[in-house]
């Protein structure tokens, strides 16, 4: 079981980075959707 810590470090790095990227993507998409909805509402009220 030598080098188990290196194996653990490699898989942790993969999962942490992927998790952060997916989290960032979903946050960005949610905020864009919200902004689009607000702008559509504003345009609806104007016309």
């Amino acid at each position: 079981m030598a080098n188990l810590s290196y194996l653990f470090a490699a898989y942790t790095a993969v999962w942490v980075l992927l998790f952060l990227y997916i989290l960032g993507l979903s946050r960005r998409n949610r905020s864009l959707e919200k902004e689009i909805e607000e702008l559509r509402e504003l345009l609806r009220r104007k016309t």
């Binding site: 079981m1 030598a2 080098n3 188990l4 290196y6 194996l7 470090a9 490699a10 898989y11 790095a13 993969v14 980075l17 992927l18 990227y21 997916i22 993507l25 979903s26 960005r28 998409n29 864009l32 959707e33 902004e35 689009i36 702008l39 559509r40 504003l42 345009l43 104007k46 016309t47």
Partner: protein, 229 residues
């Protein structure tokens, strides 16, 4: 198609990824020479291959963007570049973690390592160019040229272990022509891991592409709001 992208793809990615983790940590035997650290390859190699696929997608989509001039191809190129950077960064992180116990050093200026780092730098420049160029097609066109030229490095990385004296192992096809994964359980584990990262690539590409589409829709609405006021 929409149902596949919204429900089946995320579910399939999750299931196959869990299966891949089970196979890597429970099912597959350890390598006789390298021991347990060889199991890093089951993620490292598929990540590298999918990174190349992502940057290859950038090149093809960039050619189509320059040819047709439609935003759809530009969005695909930009999305693929970002996903490719995530995968390539993970390759450059997991590689040294394997190298430390195997070679006794985190990094060496080996041909494959160096050409992979060059690929990462090229597409980092691509993303920087995208982020500093303003709205309009000019920045996208410059980036498309860089995206196409950068992909020339992919076959060089692939052949580097055969062209130059290198200490990087040839995992799938050895220098003598056989496979580096002789045990059928190792081959099955590699196959499942490859499928897991292929599905993950499609999923990330789809989500990132969606956010660029939303950004374009938002810009259009801003334009409408400006003209109506």
């Amino acid at each position: 198609m929409r149902r596949f992208a919204d429900t089946i793809l995320p579910a399939a990615t999750f299931v196959v990824m869990v299966a891949a983790l089970y196979m890597v940590f429970v099912y597959v035997p350890s390598d006789r020479e390298q021991g347990i650290i060889q199991r890093v390859f089951y993620f490292h190699v598929p990540l590298a291959i999918m990174g190349f696929v992502a940057f290859g997608t950038v090149a093809v989509a960039s050619i189509l963007f320059l040819w047709r001039g439609t935003r759809v191809w530009d969005r695909l190129a930009h999305s693929a570049a970002e996903v490719g950077m995530v995968f390539c960064s993970l390759v450059l992180i997991t590689g040294p973690i394997w190298a430390r116990p195997a070679w006794g050093t985190w990094w060496t200026w080996d041909a494959r390592l160096t050409t992979t780092l060059i690929l990462w730098l090229i597409y980092a420049a691509y993303l920087m160019l995208r982020s500093v160029s303003g709205p309009g097609d000019q920045g996208a066109r410059y980036a498309a040229v860089l995206g196409i030229v950068g992909a020339v490095d992919i076959p060089i990385i692939n052949r580097s272990v055969y062209w130059w004296r290198t200490i990087h192992p040839a995992v799938l096809v050895t220098r003598t022509g056989g496979t580096g994964l002789s045990d059928p359980r190792m081959q099955a584990t590699f196959g499942i891991c490859f499928l897991a990262f292929f599905l993950l690539f499609l999923l990330l590409l789809k989500v990132r592409n969606e956010s660029f589409r939303l950004r374009d829709a938002l810009d259009e609405l801003h334009q409408q709001a400006l003209t109506s006021s």
